[in-house]
């Protein structure tokens, strides 16, 4: 039943696989095996109790917390959050995780968590949900935008223990995926697989015996350390197309690749391999900027791919048998924080941000409920704006809300206002530029080119976005596209800046290509070839690689003289 209490809080129930920002070690939801097939439920609407705790606000580092739990629980929760994130940085050095991606955490007591909405269920049962289906839901959830992340948590205040909190696996993966320069796939796969199975509460972390390919394979190796072991050669393990392309996609190969990535990372982190941990991070730093080669590997580890394959093979029987206690890392002190009562603007902005983030999700999974979510987000944000609040962050949220709600006309002036107030939200500038670019090119034929003056309204916000964190690939891609349709050449200094950004997003196929086209436009044929050539080794898709090779061959040919 839909409550008509003071405000509505939306909470989406989803499949277990849905990414969670923070996860209680004892989940409140039965496992899929126990409850049968998992069905994503549509949003449920939660009423705020009439006599609820006041909202508390905490800012610590890049994270803002908005809590409705008691002050002591909030303190414990925030402290634990900071501790587990610090411990994570003992597992992976902070420079290899995405930085400067603001995090918003909303915390509510479990007592305020409602059951699923009857009307919603009724609606669903008429459609895709069987009458007999059991209904469970996962209240905790993480939603992501281009330049920020938000997490929603229910806490059982009567039984809360910080020791049961961990950084969820998918959140960890997101931190790796969003890191710039982008990390190679083998490293992300290896770290995530290891982290999935690690005893995360131990400090330093403990890795249990490795599950190698399958239970049978692992038991087989435990029984017979000289048993068979599928292993990929080093050059294939680290190749960008290791599991992409016609000859590389067999299920067995994909399984071996994934397991071997984990084996390699585990081997390198095992304190029994002196120097390997340092070598791993040295290698990771280099290959996030340069194509992986055996020479680079040997410079980091002191031996080549064949020796690595053999060492991993020798290590495997130990890995499936024994746990590994990782070496303790030197960790920075926890940031100090202060718990304050949240202002109306803070509550509206943070809750509004969360509700805004739900809109794209609902649009994708439950479009029939979209209007209610849009209305809810607008209502939340209006509580602050109607009081005359003009905080740039709030303006940015309202603008993005209108954009996500599908009203770009309403969004543009708000985006421009937030930009004019120098808000630090790169997406705001990107969206401003995108809307202007769409307006500029809407009725223009594809071959039409523009003057610098015409493009300036597009390029100016993009230039601002490029100076902010986190760096967004779409900002650069739109900049490239704009300059490619400019009748003038791009100024040399500007081109240099764009070329300098290439290492950040090498694994995007179109990134290096556009830079190369800009260089060609400026008559820098050799530099264009160099960018394409260095980017080639980062490309995974064989078709794209073939096209890129063709282009390089064309560049290598002498230019046609008219």
């Amino acid at each position: 039943m839909i409550s008509t209490a003071q405000f509505l809080l939306l909470c989406i129930t989803t499949a277990l696989a849905l990414p969670l920002g923070l996860r209680a070690a004892t989940p409140t939801t039965p496992s899929p095996a126990a409850s049968g097939p998992v069905v994503a439920l549509p949003p449920m609407i939660v009423a705020e109790p009439f006599k609820a705790q006041p909202w508390l606000y905490v800012a610590a580092g890049d994270t803002e917390f908005l809590s409705r739990c008691s002050k002591s629980i909030t303190r414990d929760f925030v402290t634990t959050q900071l501790e587990i994130h610090r411990a994570l940085r003992g597992f992976v050095p902070p420079e290899f995780l995405a930085t400067s991606v603001p995090l918003i955490v909303l915390v509510l007591p479990m007592s305020s968590m409602p059951g699923p909405d009857d009307a919603v269920l009724r609606n669903l049962r008429q459609g895709r949900l069987a009458e007999s289906a059991n209904v469970h839901f996962l209240p905790n959830q993480r939603l992501e935008d281009h330049d920020m992340t938000a997490v929603f948590n229910f806490l059982d205040e009567s039984n809360f223990s910080g020791e049961r909190l961990i950084v969820a696996e998918d959140f960890f993966e997101a931190l790796l995926l969003r890191r710039t320069p982008m990390l190679p796939a083998w490293l992300i796969e290896g770290l995530v697989r290891i982290y999935d199975h690690a005893y995360k509460h131990a400090v330093p972390m403990v890795l249990p015996p490795l599950i190698w390919l399958s239970f049978d394979e692992s038991m087989g190796l435990q029984r017979d350390p000289e048993g068979r072991r599928p292993l990929l050669p080093g050059n294939e393990l680290f190749a960008p197309d290791a599991v992409i392309g016609p000859d590389h996609t067999h299920a067995v190969r994909r399984q071996v690749w994934s397991a071997q990535c984990a084996l390699f990372v585990r081997w390198a982190l095992d304190p029994a391999q002196p120097g390997a941990r340092t070598a791993l991070w040295r290698l990771a730093e280099r290959v996030s900027r340069e194509p992986m080669t055996e020479t680079i590997f040997a410079e980091s580890f002191g031996f080549g791919y064949s020796d690595l394959r053999d060492r991993l093979s020798d290590y495997l029987p130990t890995a499936v048998k024994a746990s590994v206690k990782l070496a303790p890392a030197e960790l920075p002190p926890l940031p100090r924080f202060e718990i304050k009562t949240a202002t109306v603007a803070q509550v509206a902005r943070l809750r509004g941000e969360w509700e805004r983030l739900e809109i794209p999700f609902v649009r994708q999974h439950h479009p029939e409920f979209l209007p209610r979510y849009i209305a809810q987000a607008r209502l939340t944000l209006r509580r602050a704006t109607s009081r005359g609040e003009r905080d740039p962050q709030l303006l940015a949220t309202v603008a993005l809300c209108e954009l996500d709600a599908g009203d770009p006309a309403a969004a543009l002036p708000l985006l421009e206002a937030a930009g004019a107030a120098n808000v630090v939200r790169p997406r705001v500038y990107f969206e401003t530029a995108r809307l202007r670019w769409e307006a500029l090119t809407r009725n223009a034929p594809p071959e039409k080119i523009f003057t610098v003056a015409e493009l300036q309204p597009v390029l100016a916000p993009l230039q601002t976005a490029r100076t902010q964190f986190p760096p967004l690939p779409e900002v650069f891609l739109l900049t490239f596209d704009a300059w490619l349709r400019c009748e003038q050449r791009i100024p040399a200094a500007e081109l240099e800046k764009l070329v300098a950004a290439v290492p950040l997003f090498r694994r995007y196929a179109g990134f290096g290509l556009r830079v190369a086209l800009l260089q060609l436009k400026n008559g820098r044929r050799a530099e264009a070839a160099a960018v394409l050539s260095s980017g080639l080794e980062f490309l995974a898709d064989p078709t794209t690689r073939a096209r890129r090779r063709k282009l390089l061959a064309a560049l290598a040919a002498p230019p046609l003289v008219p």
């Binding site: 049978d216 394979e217 038991m219 087989g220 190796l221 017979d224 350390p225 000289e226 048993g227 068979r228 072991r229 599928p230 292993l231 990929l232 050669p233 080093g234 050059n235 294939e236 000859d247 590389h248 067999h250 067995v252 190969r253 071996v256 055996e294 031996f303 080549g304 791919y305 064949s306 020796d307 394959r309 053999d310 060492r311 093979s313 020798d314």
Partner: protein
Amino acid sequence: MSRRHLIFLLLLAGACLPFARGAPTPFEKFVTNLYRPWQAEQVALSPDGEHLAYTRHEAGNLVIEIMTVSRPAPKFKIIADDDQPVLFAKELRPAYLRFLAWASPTRLVFAPVPKADALTSITAVNRDGTAPMTLAAPDDFAVTVTFAPPGVGGRERLTQRSIHIVGFAPGHRETLLIHALGTAPMPYATDVPTTLVAIDVTTGKKTELAEETNYGRYLPHPGGNLHLLYSQPRYATTRIFELKKPGFWDRWITLDEAWGGPLTKAFKVTPENYHGERAFPLGFDVDPDLLYYASNVGRDTYGIYALDVRKKQRTPFAVEEPHVDLALPEPGDPSPLVFDPITSQLVGVRGVGVAPFTRWIDPEFATLQQDLEKKFPQRTVELLQWDDARRRLLLRVTGGIEPGRYHVFQRPENVMVEVLRSAPWLRNADLHRGTTFAFDTPGGAHLTGYLTFPSKPRINPPPLLIDFSDGVMGSAQPGFHRQAQVLAELGFIVARVNHRGMSGFGLAHRNAFRDGGDRVPVDDALAAINWIAGHHAIDRKRMATFGRGLGGYLALRALQLEPDVFRCAVAIDAPLAPALWLMPPLEDLGPGSQADAADYKILLSSRPPPPIDFAQEVRRAFLLGGSAKLTSVLSHVETLTKPVMLIVNRPEDDPIALQNAFLRAKLSRQGLDPELLQTANPFAADLPLERAKTFRRIGEFFNLNLYDYGVKVGPTKEIK
């Protein structure tokens, strides 16, 4: 003394007890582990690619293990043979297989290597151990020989015949072809023939296909017929090849110009041309008119060619390598020719250069080889076997730091499955890195070799050891070398140079020694030192030599010729006066020495002359027949001014042992007291524990004479 102190002392004493008992040191453990018999010395992939059979040594037995390739499953074990006790030693001498192959996806055939005093049988068994069957036993092929010297009544004796396994009949794996080998004709005795027999591996039924009385080596033919004979006369130094021409009264004819065309002129073998320019057949193609042969006539290295016997002309087929002989000078095993087991077509030619390689004629394998080599950089990849569908390939990967790993490449999945390791008790991280090198000397010689780098050098830069290994006439060595690993463990960069005089690198390479003498390998060692110093940091003030057999001789000669370069030398079983060593023995009773008492009188009255030792004649022709004479170490003892260690693994009355004892006496009189290590039990010298003891002594010798920091090191002399 308090109780606590007493307990502490007791614990300390307990901890020291193993050392007091003479427990092996870590170094000795390293050596014994290196020299343990490896597993997978024989390995066979089943025709369906699903199972792999391989040998390993376990608790004094030679065991065949059968594993499943595609999934983890328990292995099945079959005891194939037992290791043999060694006189006066605790260790056992490992048994080996000479044949291991799948007759079908479920049936395996194997045969142990015959022991010194007994012939062994051939056995077939299902992969689950059921239906075991002896396919052939020595008694199955015994023949009665009548021995009747003039004036003496004939005597009959039952003689067993050795079994040579030809292989499965082409296209018929259920039929195994063997030769029951005849013996060299004896005066006054009836001939012992060679018989070709087909054995059904399921029923054990034997069928005699052909029988020949000519003595020699019958070269295998895919069809199994006795088409080609490498005759080995007892009293002549010339060997010829004979051919059986069907339809011409079914008789043997000499494969000469008249019958094989002008090419076959080069097929005659004598001690003088053995290491010279000549040609010799290797075997027939599945087409019986096509004979493959090796030849270095008109070129430096042996290439592989084909002769159309019907047309008496060479075909366009040719496989050649610039610096490597593609065939060993002795025809037969191991044959460089690789045939597909299904089609019996020639698919490749194997060669042994600095590393083993295969020149694939089959284009599918040629492409595969290239792809597979990319998967294992700095390693040698050998494509050994494949299943009938060519979906699973068995590879051996060796070289550098790796003793050997076997992989099955599953082509549909594009996944490599490591199935076996030659020495799983050796960890990659504990071994010493190795590499190969190749360069041209200023004199134009193309030299290759192997370097092994110590993972924990005792001093930096590390000292260099020139290991002459087996010396002159030796052949290319494996990339992973146990002895090099041991010497690297002692802190050396170990250089094994394929110096001139060694076999397998062409005529000019080998004959340079015959014409230039012992100076040639020593010059090659000096050139290698210069090259190595240009590429790796070495301590040129601490360089030593090492060698075994003729390699030991070269190690000592290097010390005599270049005393300013080398600090000391270790020589094992070195013939110090090669000319004496190559002299024929004073007395040879010949084959009659095994006769029983009843025959003894007959022997005394009609003893045949001893047979020709062809191998010794070849050595004599090569080492003593050239323009340069081999200088005896003993004749220039006064030039031996640096420390030497002499190791003798032979009985005290052996000529080499006597020569070493003589050298020691002479050096002692000069005031240079060399260390002579006479192995207490020569029968066990090649077994791991004895080797560990010997290497420990060698380590002590180097500690004293090379690592002694108190010793004044002379000025560095540049080698030109």
